[in-house]
Symmetry: C6
Subunit: 73 residues, 6 copies
């Protein structure tokens, strides 16, 4: 099964989770090693600027998912 079968979700909340998934996949495609990512995560999850930058990526992907769902109108 594909990891991204569709951009459609039933609710805004599921859409936000999909935006998170897209953001993490953007990292994973560049650094596929699970162990390395786990090490890096231990560091950046305690760094405010890294967390804000992560939230910026999620916000950008959420724009895409929200548009794909016509903003769940």
């Amino acid at each position: 099964m594909p990891w991204l079968p569709s951009l459609k979700t039933d609710t805004p909340e599921e859409g936000f989770d999909l935006a998170l998934k897209l953001s993490r996949m953007g990292v994973k495609k560049t650094q596929p090693d699970d162990d390395v990512r786990a090490e890096l995560r231990a560091v950046y999850e305690k760094d405010a600027d890294s967390l804000i930058a992560s939230s910026q990526v999620v916000a950008t992907n959420f724009q895409t998912v929200a548009a794909a769902n016509n903003y769940w109108k």
Copy 2:
């Protein structure tokens, strides 16, 4: 009750508050520990560049919320 039942708000001001909520949730989903986030917050709320970066995330999410509300026209 879901934390994000809808992107619709009654007013632009409530829309801006929703953009703030989305921005913080983007951080919370990566760092779910309330105590760690509180510690980090004590630091970055006194760092101009962190605050500007936070405002950038809010601006991005506000684009999404405003579009979802047809700019409250």
Copy 3:
């Protein structure tokens, strides 16, 4: 009276000022203390990279305001 009654403005120039207001409010909602913000401002207004980052936030918010006003066509 609400601080953001509408995204509509009479002119592009007023729209740019509204984008500035939204950008500053994004900071203020995270750091509500006026004195702390004044101290930080004294520093970042003399830092080129902070000023460029601020201009980026304004540009993002101006996109929203311009779209809300149908680009004042």
Copy 4:
């Protein structure tokens, strides 16, 4: 005369110049002192990362101007 009478321009090239103007105005509204800005400029115009960040602001404003002009189609 207002500094931003309209987002309309006759050509894409004038539109790009308007995007530059908007980007600089985003800085000027935060740091209105001409002398301070001139000093900062002397530094950041020799800093590659500052120049790239400036180009990012211009790109964001150019999106707005281009949309306002229906991409000069």
Copy 5:
């Protein structure tokens, strides 16, 4: 054969891969030397902030690809 014959893809997942390709091409066009890029990659693939920044570029390009495909609706 051109490296970018079209922005159309059959599935969202292929669209995400195309966004990755566009992001890497943005780097390659500035630094065409394969060896230099390989050296740089060895460093930034172990730097959390670089990976987050990369994911931001992918998110931006994915917006373009998704719009080009009408969000695969």
Copy 6:
């Protein structure tokens, strides 16, 4: 002849090249001295974070160019 006669291109690939041109022009308009830019380039083309930031600018400009060409549909 103007450097930006139009945002229209025959192919997506030419559109990507135009996005690169816009990105570089954003730098050139701030730092017009060819020699200074050449010196800076020698540094940032070996800096992963600078290259990623450059790719971000290109991605933003490519959004504009792609929209101007109706995504070459």
